[in-house]
């Protein structure tokens, strides 16, 4: 049985911990809200760009496909992955879930390609410290790293990351690039997903879009030039959106982890208080017994 003083000290430290985790939970929840807003704000632009890409791909694929290297489908010898993970911990199992997803989708793809011929090599671009550490630890080849991107990734950050992937793709160092990040589902759940970034697959045009198709556009300068200018921006936007979602996911995971920690601490405090009271009572009982038996002995 620990002494009364020991129990009291443990209660005090646990209370301090609960206070800290509670504060971190609230910080994470407000950061998550802001991250969600940024996802919302980026949406109109992303939708317009996507719309343009699919429309232009449709309208002028014949003449355009040869001129744009980002669409080039080549036999796959090397696969690149951009893995977006949090920089910091204290967000539960999220980093390891993302890393596991990255590894499993990498191995899946490797097997798929290997069935048709030679086994492709893997290369990784790490965004966020957790992913970087994982890739280094598992001794995969790392062709780029971006850490400390903070809570407010800018389009310029995304552009820098996309540039590395696009350069590697254009130089044929990789023949396909996938983007692995945690998709924000809702406040309490995130799902790591892996999507193809390069070669660009123009999104399918929506069915109800026939009215726009019928419009004959004036292109300035011409569809091919516009399409060529559009594709890199489309890639940037995909990376940017993934980063924004990743930040929202990180904060939501962190919020949940901190809430669990606070709940656990409070439970522990209750248990300890109970133990403390029992011990205190026992001590008093013992003392009374001593006094009584002492008095009885004297009589």
């Amino acid at each position: 049985m620990p002494s009364l003083r020991d129990i009291r000290r443990r209660i005090r430290t646990t209370k301090n911990m609960a206070q800290i985790t509670k504060a971190k939970q609230m910080v994470a929840s407000s950061k998550m809200r802001r991250a969600q807003e940024r996802v919302q704000q980026a949406r109109p632009f992303a939708e317009q760009i996507r719309d343009l890409v699919s429309r232009l791909a449709d309208a002028s694929l014949g003449e355009v496909s040869t001129g744009t290297e980002l669409l080039a489908k080549r036999p796959i010898h090397n696969i690149g992955f951009i893995v977006i993970t949090p920089d910091r911990g204290l967000c539960g199992a999220l980093p390891s879930n993302i890393n596991r997803k990255a590894m499993s989708s990498a191995l899946d793809l490797q097997r798929q390609v290997a069935e048709q011929g030679e086994r492709p090599n893997l290369a990784f671009i790490a965004v966020g410290r957790k992913g970087r550490d994982f890739i280094v630890r598992t001794q995969q080849s790392l062709i780029g790293e971006f850490i400390n991107y903070g809570d407010k990734p800018s389009l310029a950050d995304a552009r820098a990351i996309a540039r590395v992937a696009v350069d590697a793709f254009v130089k044929a160092e990789v023949d396909a690039v996938y983007l692995v990040y945690a998709k924000f589902i809702n406040t309490v759940s995130q799902q790591p997903i892996s999507v193809q970034l390069l070669p660009v697959e123009p999104p399918a045009q929506e069915k109800n879009e026939d009215r726009k198709k019928s419009v004959d556009y004036i292109y300035e300068p011409d569809p091919a030039t516009i399409f060529t200018a559009l594709l890199p921006r489309y890639v940037d936007i995909l990376v940017y959106q993934a980063m924004l979602e990743a930040v929202a996911s990180e904060q939501s995971a962190s919020m949940v982890a901190m809430k669990n920690a606070t709940d656990n601490a409070n439970e522990l405090i209750q248990d300890l208080t109970l133990t403390y009271n029992k011990a205190r009572q026992q001590a008093i009982t013992t003392q009374i017994l001593e006094v009584v038996s002492g008095a009885g002995g004297g009589a």
Binding site: A42, Y217, I218, I226, D236
Partner: protein
Amino acid sequence: MAVTRNNTLHVRVVTAERELYSGEANLVSAPGAEGRLGILPHHAALLALLGSGVLTIKLGEGEEPIFVSGGFLEVSENSVIVLADTAEHADEIDEARAEEARRRAQEALAQAASDEDRAEIEAALAREMSRLKVADIARRSGRRRISMPSSEQQ
């Protein structure tokens, strides 16, 4: 506001990070990659590349100057959508910073090693110069800004 409502077109100016303007206009004047584009209501469908410079949206007596650089402009069914790489309201431009960037670009230009570098720096220089110009125009014109009900959320 003395506006002829029946002769307007809808305008949206968005960047990846936010929406700068969404509302009606009588005239949009934009810096196309190959020359200025003036767009009046009921313009034919158009898809154009943007250069850098001032995008002016006119509505009645009001006028909204916005600095844009790079991106696309799409006109269809009496609505204009500007997808800009960067865009700032004229009064948001930090002139001191733009001036500093312009000066740095000029210095870098003198030391540019390859033609490729030079082209990139020249583009940056042109961008900063038109940014400064936009800020300057906005300050001097003193014309009334268009009051926007819902587009100022950051």
